[in-house]
């Protein structure tokens, strides 16, 4: 008999452009902003792995899964999908004043929302998003919540107030002993996210997605959006993949050397 230790689980999700259609993304040359029209939006793939892990923990140990997201109103679809996968509650922090938030401002807003939700044992996030892919929010979130963090987790085992995590390194991994409450970010290898079932979809339409403003979470205007972001994006441009088509014809030794230099340069030394 597995002893039931119910856990309060929070999962941070973000609605992002569908990575399969990323080549359709264009930049508005005047405003230097991203044009997302025509590109379907999905839950950031790694966030689904984070949610799946939370659902498994709830299945194994008991507890509650709350999903938190920060974004424009249309991010409600992502929250609904999370509810359909099985989350118990969904909170969307949505407020025009949050536009332009960098990772610091985002992490601060999320931390305030999570505090408003109440006590938690574990916050799970995807290791990075498909748009910014900085991976910075989970450690910053942990700092603002005053708890430890581990990023790039692919194996997580909870035992009471502790967890053992395996976190990926370049060639291998590190074993980490985590004291809860904590923040973890997960990578793809950790699990296979479930597909929402019909009953999940019906349930999701009975649970309203709560919408919070910056006042609801206790964030000041100065801490929000561009005002609260130490970094700014001063320029954005598209990269067009045009093949170089540089062709070399000559003695084999020189040809090999010519290739060698270019290959080494591509691989970064």
């Amino acid at each position: 008999m597995v002893k039931q230790v119910p856990y309060e689980l929070v999962v941070c999700i973000k609605q992002v452009p569908d990575p399969r259609f990323i080549s359709r993304i264009r930049i508005n040359p005047e405003t230097k902003t991203i044009i997302r029209e025509g590109v379907p939006a999905v839950i950031n793939p790694l966030d689904k792995h984070a949610l799946e892990e939370a659902l498994r923990i709830r299945e194994q140990h008991g507890g509650r899964v709350t999903v938190v997201s920060m974004g424009p109103l249309q991010a409600e679809d992502a929250c609904k999908e999370a509810l359909a996968m099985g989350a118990d509650r969904a909170v969307l922090i949505t407020d025009r004043r949050l536009a332009g938030s960098d990772t610091l401002a985002t992490a601060l807003a999320l931390s305030k929302a999570i505090r408003r939700i109440g006590g938690f044992d574990l916050v799970l996030c995807g290791a990075e998003t498909v748009d910014g892919s900085t991976g910075q929010v989970p450690p910053q979130l942990a700092e603002f919540l005053g708890v430890p963090h581990v990023t790039r987790v692919f194996s997580l085992a909870l035992k009471g107030r502790e967890a053992e995590a395996k976190a990926a390194l370049e060639y291998g991994y590190r074993r980490v002993l985590l004291r809860l409450p904590a923040v973890v970010s997960v990578i793809r290898e950790i699990n296979e996210p479930r597909i929402p079932s019909v009953s999940g979809i019906l349930r999701a339409h009975q649970i309203p997605v709560e919408k919070w403003t910056i006042e609801d979470i206790g964030l000041s205007e100065d801490e929000a959006g561009i005002k609260g972001s130490p970094t700014i994006v001063s320029d954005v441009y598209e990269i067009e993949v045009r093949r170089k088509r540089e062709v070399f014809q000559g003695p084999p030794e020189e040809a090999a050397r010519w290739l060698f230099e270019r290959i080494v340069s591509v691989l970064g030394g």
């Binding site: 498909v130 910075q136 963090h149 390194l169 590190r174 093949r243 062709v247 014809q249």
Partner: protein, 334 residues
Amino acid sequence: MELWVYAEQRRGKLVSASLELLGLARGIADKARWALSSVLLGHNVEVLCKELIAHGADRVYLVEHPLLELYQCEPYSRILAKLASEAKPEAILFPHTAVGSDLAPRVAAKLRTGLSAHVVNIELDERRLLRQIVPGFGGSIMAVVLCPERRPQMATIMPGVARKPKPDWSRRGEVIRVEEEVSEEELRARTLELVEEPPEEKPLEEADIVVAGGWGLRSREGFRIVEELAEALSAAVGGTRPALDEGWIKPHQMIGHSGKTIRPKLYIAIGISGEMHHTVGILDSGVIVAVNNDPSAPIFEVCDYGVVGDAFEVIPRLTSMLRELRGAQLKQEP
């Protein structure tokens, strides 16, 4: 005014990316006329200070403690933030490694300052601001990030962006020992051990480098040059339909319309003519290299670097150059 580089060490050896970063930082420091310092945390790592100085650091802040032997997110970030708020460097650069990207954000949050991630290019502008160029949306968009007001400006830099500088062992520099208390209680996310594993055989779609062979290789024996080059690059092996039909590759290695679509960082096509049924599977690759003895082969239309020549002459030479380089690198890497 200082520019700091975080020196990542693993098992008492400096990670290559940290040394590359010093090379990059040296250029910025010289231009801005800042001093270049490195911050090193660990246990019994004093011997590494000389190496940091030889690679360009003017000063090394050394923090040693038994509990700091392995990377520990809370004491490491606390100590770095403390040192930074005392010494007030202009900027701190980290390598974008697993550790660097775990550590830097927490430090930035403690200092309430800006951090950009996986920077691929960084320059100083006229205002002494670091222009940090980062890829977004899977690399199809580039953004220029600035941290105009808060200090220090922080960034994690992609490994491979800079070249490791040639060490000058005659260089002199300063080592500042910093004593710090670290308690067991602080290690709430405690790294217990590092487990190193050789890179697994990844499926073709996940490999960073793929070497593929086609009809031009003529035989199983001929196909070996593909396998040897792949081995030297720790790359995955792929091939075209003819290679599959001849039994040189297995079905899961076939690339093309009725096979796999791949997008590795580097794709090398050997003895492959490059008709559409194959090339449709590689068009999103980072860099495409081709070797074929037919100058009119369509593969040359879709490649970045192509060699018209006899693969059996060119590839083995290339392979031995790469093997030599790897041998030299292994002596340095942890």
